[in-house]
């Protein structure tokens, strides 16, 4: 658990309802981009996410994909229908921490997501904690 998540739970008497983790291999995304170009991204990412991606920094895109998948896993226990990639927009706080906004989904207003992303060698990893 991240320190921020622990502090939030301590202060708000909140409860963790889900956790999700995902790992994306950078070389898989590289070969996908090489073969099909970047046009497929519009089917999986929000316009503002696409606008913010620098494709020369492949770990940025891989981290984004891992983050979305981690959030889907973390929220799956409280939802009858799992989220899809376009329900989730990964953004950045002023502090630099990643955060999540939900789109086209009604019953997540009381949910808070804590997200952390890291990169090493050929992998990007994201972990999401879902609190309600």
């Amino acid at each position: 658990m991240t320190r921020t998540a622990f502090y939030w739970l301590y202060c708000n008497n909140a409860m963790i309802v889900g956790v999700g983790i995902d790992l994306v291999k950078k070389s898989r995304i590289k070969s996908l981009l090489k073969r099909y170009g970047s046009s497929f991204l519009s089917k999986f990412l929000a316009p503002e996410e696409i606008a913010g991606i620098d494709l020369k920094k492949i770990e940025h895109l891989c981290g984004l994909i891992a983050a979305k998948e981690a959030v889907i896993k973390a929220t799956s226990i409280i939802l009858k229908q799992p989220l899809n990639f376009l329900n989730i927009v990964v953004c950045k706080k002023v502090s630099g921490w990643p955060c999540v906004e939900f789109r086209k989904i009604a019953n997540l207003s009381k949910v808070k997501i804590f997200l952390s992303i890291t990169h090493e060698a050929d992998y990007s990893v994201a972990i999401a904690i879902c609190e309600k």
């Binding site: 994306v24 995304i29 996908l32 099909y36 497929f40 999986f44 994909i65 998948e69 990639f85 376009l86």
Partner: protein, 78 residues
Amino acid sequence: MENLEKLKEIFSEALSIDKSKINDNLSHGSDEWDSVSHMVLISQLEEKFNISIDIDEVIDMSSFVKAKEILKKHQINF
């Protein structure tokens, strides 16, 4: 090549699994069918069947059976 065989080949390549393991029980979320495989799958279906799959269909394509249903809407018959 028959469309069903073509579809199985696409699934086999995108999900990196043997063609013999592709059947109507295969669904998104299985070990082989993760989010990146789904991106590969959609890109290959568009390229090899020369169609454009819209966002709702991308989301809806949650199983091999669903993929066949969606392709039928694009006049790809099985």
